[in-house]
Symmetry: C2
Subunit: 337 residues, 2 copies
């Protein structure tokens, strides 16, 4: 493989090699009027209030069933904006490239970014590219930071959660984490498992259109999984979370993989899932609405907020058994996103 096929330190100099790299691999595929100005920043005509959110992506492998680091970097930030109760509008894109990265891989990742942006209706409007020596990075790290405009009916806040509020999850758990883990360990399963990486803003915004402030909280359970996010909600709301163990949706193959690997699906990462805490009076409306969207077709109610055991998440099964669901303690799977 020739030096011309890979990223070199000169690509990070800020000089002509940087310009050539940006023109061909970044500005080309991502072209839009904001980015085409090639200034250090973008000027955006937006009316507040705004949502603002950032994420860096370091996932390994860079390409996996159901997505890659590029699509993940768009979906992750689009979803974080949606969790604020906002319409995703603009993203920044900052790349840290390792010397030796194949330009064909960079090209494939940028195409995936652009496809994910078009699907989600967002634009990359400003960016940055740095290069580090071989051994000081790992192929590519991506930061996306997003701006969205708040939904006028959104009134999201953990302080609005009350006893009796219902907890929904928009789809089946643990697909992303199990996909990444099985890629790394070289595991394969009878039916293939794919990451759930996808944008969920459409069903979320439709929920806000329809239910307004009956939507109390939205969270996307990525690293740490559903269990960790529910523990955060319990601690911050000073209420308990009571889960119905049998209602927690996990695809059979994923469930089998979790059993084989000794993992609790509640503590495995997701990338295309959201948790909603909503007023119990609108449960049926919420289900009817969310089932209409592909991204939330498998929506399920998994529990409710209770006054007993404040700060704790307790799972109840049909046999009357109970267990406390912990927050993910430490290392489970590094570099999941």
């Amino acid at each position: 493989m020739s030096r011309q096929d890979t990223i070199t330190l000169g690509h990070g100099s800020g000089g002509t090699l940087t310009h050539e790299l940006l023109d061909r691999y970044i500005f080309g595929p991502l072209s839009n009027p904001h980015l085409d100005r090639q200034h250090d920043g973008a000027v955006l005509d937006l009316r507040g209030p705004l949502a603002f959110t950032t994420d860096s992506f370091v996932v390994q492998p860079l390409f996996f069933p159901g997505g890659d680091i590029g699509s993940l970097a768009v979906h992750g930030t689009v979803n974080d904006i949606a969790m604020c109760g906002a319409y995703p509008k603009y993203l920044s894109l900052s790349l840290i490239l390792e010397e030796g990265l194949l330009l064909t891989d960079l090209e494939r990742i940028l195409q995936s970014i652009q496809k994910a942006c078009l699907e989600a209706g967002v634009q990359i409007v400003t960016g940055d590219t740095k290069v580090v020596e071989k051994g000081s990075g790992d192929g590519i790290f991506i930061n996306t930071t997003g701006i969205g405009t708040m939904h006028p009916k959104a009134h999201i806040g953990v302080e609005r959660i009350k006893e009796g509020d219902a907890i929904l999850v928009s789809g089946t758990l643990a697909n992303h984490g199990i996909t990444i883990m099985s890629q790394r360990e070289g595991l394969s399963f009878a039916s293939p498992i794919e990451s759930d990486s996808r944008a969920v803003h459409e069903p979320v915004l439709a929920l806000l259109d329809e239910l307004g402030d009956a939507v109390k909280l939205l969270r996307d359970p990525t690293r740490g999984g559903v269990g960790t996010v529910l523990n955060e909600i319990a601690q911050q709301s000073k209420l308990g979370v009571q889960l119905d163990a049998e209602s927690i949706p996990v695809a059979p193959t994923v469930n089998g993989a979790c059993e084989m690997l000794g993992l609790d699906p509640l503590l495995v990462a997701n990338e295309g899932l959201f948790i909603g805490v909503i007023d119990q009076s609108v449960k049926e409306k919420a289900i009817d609405l969310l089932k209409r969207f592909p991204a939330s077709a498998a929506v399920t109610f998994i529990g409710q907020m209770v006054a007993s055991h404040p700060g704790q998440v307790v799972s109840h099964n049909a046999m009357g058994g109970k267990r406390v669901v912990p927050m993910l303690p430490g290392e489970q799977l590094p570099r999941i996103c």
Copy 2:
């Protein structure tokens, strides 16, 4: 050194270790009402138009005379917002930590970030922290992304530049690049050299207050240096840049170091400098105003826009000599910022 003194992979899990790390090292030092909500994103009440800009920082060494990667990450993005003609308001902060990073170094960097934010009047309102295995990163990489509100009198754009417009630089060249290079090479000089890393938004905003749309373009010459930015301006404006070689301000020690190292100060990186292209009729006003600010006390006019040699930067000396100033071709000094 014990495992408790350094970053471990568990700190990136999203679970309890991540929460402990964030509470002690991130939310503690950076505390403000937005960040204290600990949601995935911040909700900001801003009126458009807005400036939006991103930068990732990978500088080595992490600590250097005149600053560190933390202060640099704040100054860099504050300055990029100012270059849009905007008031810097809010930043996001995203960290990629390498397993084994000393927690004392992380603490020192976060304190430096907070100090730089307080001095610049900006707040970190949302963030993200990832951990990669030892050998897959290099201590710490930092992304900051910023939002600012446009100055009502700003009318910045390369298309507004005309023949005869004057070009100013806010201070002496090449301090940052020479500082980093001398740290890496173990060079020392008779009088110490420091990075010029600092926020320049105050003089920039004062210039817009006073001169409004007589300010045609603002740019901060970081990677690639003043010469590369002037080449970009020449190419984009389809005019030439004529420089007065003797007027280009370089501190004597820095100049000596450049000569010793065979570097052109015009192509060495800066971090606390801006270039302004302004109407020639307001030159004296601009100088009088900018001299009042410590960050631009050494402001100097270095040349003008000309119709001859469009797309080229040509430096003239007092002896009648001319030379074409190139864009920095490729690798000079990796990881300068």
